[in-house]
Symmetry: C2
Subunit: 196 residues, 2 copies
Amino acid sequence: MTARRGRPPGGSQTRSRILASARRLFGERGFEGASVRAIAAEARVDPALIHHYFGTKHALYLAATELPFDPRAPQRLLEPGIEGLGERLVGFALDIWDRPDFAPVIAGIVRSAAADPAAAAQLREIVIRQVLTPLAAALGRPDAELRATLAGSQMIGLAFARLIVRVEPLASAERERIVRAVGPTIQRYLTGDLDD
Amino acid sequence: MTARRGRPPGGSQTRSRILASARRLFGERGFEGASVRAIAAEARVDPALIHHYFGTKHALYLAATELPFDPRAPQRLLEPGIEGLGERLVGFALDIWDRPDFAPVIAGIVRSAAADPAAAAQLREIVIRQVLTPLAAALGRPDAELRATLAGSQMIGLAFARLIVRVEPLASAERERIVRAVGPTIQRYLTGDLDD
């Protein structure tokens, strides 16, 4: 007798629907607040199917909050040269934040980091260790780690102001406006003289 | 017969001790998590005395999280002239944050703002409306509100990185180092060309 495994009903469309519901509910309610049952109800699937696809609730959380993040991004941001690097980096971040499916995920990660040390460590890992420190180190300027954390403080503050506190006019400002306003800050933190 | 009112036992020292306990517990547990009973126990006073001094729990919270904030601060920061304004503003903020009794209060306010729209409104009010917008408006440059919110995003991100996520080396960096690194960012947001 063959085990009842293999292709579950619906296939990859079902998986995407579960992920979209998980993003929305984890973003709104946090990890503890959003139950697998509620996510299943929102995605209109049986909770057992969530376990079939993702295993544990924690694995579902990791899959749902995984950013569409190309590991070669730091390299690609650097490729055109140092000039304009800060603006490219701000644009790169806004292109992720401005996706309606990811804005609540980013807000949820920052919100969780404010309350929970484990989530804060996850945020440090994503923003500082995977993106900004490699970038700062590749530039060969002294104090790469301080530079990366300064740039990180501006980017996280921007996410906080734009996605969570939603303070106007910053929250509704156009992408290009923010890129031109904040890009030079990041550029100076990564490449400039910090003691001037 | 005279009512049993007037000077309660201990006087202003007792009041200060209650405020210090309230700061610590509200900072650690938030408004909901810290009970009047726990604050009274920590301050070694009868809970009735807290009601005598402050009335409601909410009034106690407001008194405990009130920053030692001089309403003439924006004026005084501007007095020496535009040059160095950003550095003075960062130094002014760090002088409050670095007080051991206020660091947990600031962390608590930012943490609450991440979770609760009412706390987010309080943070907007303090940082943006009372300090940064008057400053930006006094400078007479266009887009005063956008400038104030950009500066606010950097200051809140700095508090987030330094007091909450505690990302190194930024969390332990010396006051003067941060003033020189972040001051020019604030200076440019408030007085510079945002479209360069």
